[in-house]
């Protein structure tokens, strides 16, 4: 597995759309004939994927808001985004 650099700018893949669903009261990633239902933690990360923030900036933002060690957060955030990147939902 190739390591993601913190200066990489994650963005949603072609045709992917991240939106809130009122019926389920949850965030959803919609894409070509598939969809992902991120848990609350993953949704917090994906809300920061805007095509301009770097991976490092996303981790900084989360570290400032949630009382978690930055290195632990960095591992979790990178793994989550890498997983979605392997599925084509995120470009990393």
């Amino acid at each position: 597995m190739e390591a993601a650099q913190e200066d990489a700018v994650p963005r949603f893949g072609p045709g992917m759309r991240f939106r809130f669903d009122d019926v389920r009261n949850a965030w959803i990633v919609l894409g070509p004939e598939r969809l992902f239902l991120p848990d609350e933690q993953a949704a917090e990360i994906l809300k920061l994927v805007d095509g301009s923030r770097t991976l490092g900036a996303i981790i900084d933002d989360l570290a400032a808001r949630f009382a978690a060690p930055r290195d632990v957060l960095a591992t979790d955030v990178t793994a989550m985004l890498r997983d979605l990147a392997d599925k084509g939902a995120i470009r990393l």
């Binding site: 045709g15 759309r17 669903d21 019926v23 959803i28 894409g31 070509p32 969809l35 392997d86 084509g88």
Partner: protein, 372 residues
């Protein structure tokens, strides 16, 4: 009569809107029923839009516009527009041959988000023979480029069977060259027209093994760039597919005439009175129609499914296949090696080694001798 409350259902994820059965192609494995709806019976624009309103209200997230050929409808643009305005992810499942630069631009403007374009082969003459439409393959290549030029994500769908399985490597290559972010290597499913033509389409074991190997290699090579979805033919399976993700669990299909089904092939099942959009709302149908409750969840399951740890993975497989092979829609899908009827699937395999009969092309009034 029965005081047991129906099992609680989650909201549906997707709506499969079969806008029409009309299609310029005549593929012998078409997923439409043998009895095709004529244009006069199709739901009108306003009814489809009202149905989309109802679908979005109960949580449908994706709207799959299909047919027949959905772009054979002159009102495809306003239909797409309403689905997009409701926030549903709009997916056009098309043979492509009726599209051009202008109509694609109109669809994009209306909010279309994705196109799935079908291919019959990579070899033009064979592709045109399978679809029984001269020049179809060349036109599809043009349309794929137009779709990409319009900025839409593209899925290239290749339907695989005995008469094209050797070219799966070239299919994946073509899909990648066309810029598809997703490629479907979809073995023919044997219902309706596909079942009628099974003896001409069922791949050999050697073809299936080669296809599987090709797909596995390509998935590794294209990881993160192209998603490859692979559907194997049930006749060679050990476990059944999770058909429709479970009966009335994720998807709603609406036929051109407005019948509401848990699966596009379900009209073949006896003993059902499927509801119509003219009579009930989608909310009523999804949460309380007897046809939707019949096989939802796991309580209805017979053995060996009932005590199986896979029952919430494959949901006992496909009801239509259980009915077609065994005559009983309520039994375990015989594609499962644990089914007492599994040998009935294997008994069909010699068909794949015999010379293929001529295709029975999909069209209204096609000769159905041999259909079973």
């Amino acid at each position: 009569m029965n005081a047991i409350p129906p099992p609680a259902a989650s909201p549906p994820m997707g709506l499969i809107a079969e806008l029409t059965h009309r299609c310029p192609l005549q593929c012998p494995y078409c997923a439409n029923p043998l009895e095709l709806a004529r244009a006069a019976g199709e739901l009108d624009t306003q009814t489809w839009q009202r149905v989309f309103d109802e679908a979005a209200a109960i949580g449908v997230l994706q709207c799959h516009l299909t047919g027949g050929e959905p772009t054979a409808r002159r009102d495809i643009v306003p239909i797409v527009r309403r689905a997009a305005e409701l926030g549903m992810y709009t997916n056009l499942i098309t043979a492509g041959v009726l599209l051009d630069e202008r109509s694609i631009a109109e669809l994009v403007e209306a909010g279309l988000e994705h196109v799935q374009l079908s291919f019959q082969d990579v070899e033009p003459a064979n592709a045109d023979r399978i679809g029984n439409f001269k020049g179809g393959h060349a036109k599809k290549l043009e349309v794929a480029a137009l779709v990409k030029a319009a900025g839409l994500p593209l899925t290239a769908n290749f339907v695989v069977h005995r008469q094209n399985a050797e070219r799966v490597p070239e299919m994946i290559e073509l899909g990648t060259e066309l810029g598809a972010g997703r490629i479907e290597v979809a073995s023919v499913q044997y219902y309706g027209w596909g079942l009628t033509n099974r003896a001409a389409l069922l791949p050999t074991r050697a073809q299936l093994d080669a296809t599987t190997e090709t797909v596995e290699e390509a998935r590794v090579r294209l990881k993160g760039k192209v998603v490859i979805d692979y559907v194997v033919p049930d006749y060679y399976a050990m476990r059944p597919k999770s058909c429709m993700g479970g009966w009335a669990r994720r998807l709603i299909t609406i036929t051109p005439r407005g019948r509401v089904l848990p699966c596009h092939a379900a009209e073949i099942l006896p003993g059902f009175d499927f509801p119509s959009v003219h009579e009930k709302t989608l909310a009523e149908i999804w949460y309380s129609d007897p046809a939707f409750l019949r096989y939802r969840g796991t309580d209805w399951m017979p053995e060996p499914c009932r005590s199986c740890d896979q029952k919430e993975i494959d949901w006992a497989g496909c009801r239509c296949q259980a009915f077609q092979i065994t005559g009983d829609a309520s039994c375990t899908d015989p594609a499962c090696s644990l089914s007492p009827d599994h040998a009935m699937m294997h008994a069909v395999l010699p068909e794949s080694e015999a010379p293929p009969p001529a295709f029975v092309y999909r069209r209204i009034g096609s000769n159905l001798v041999g259909a079973k």
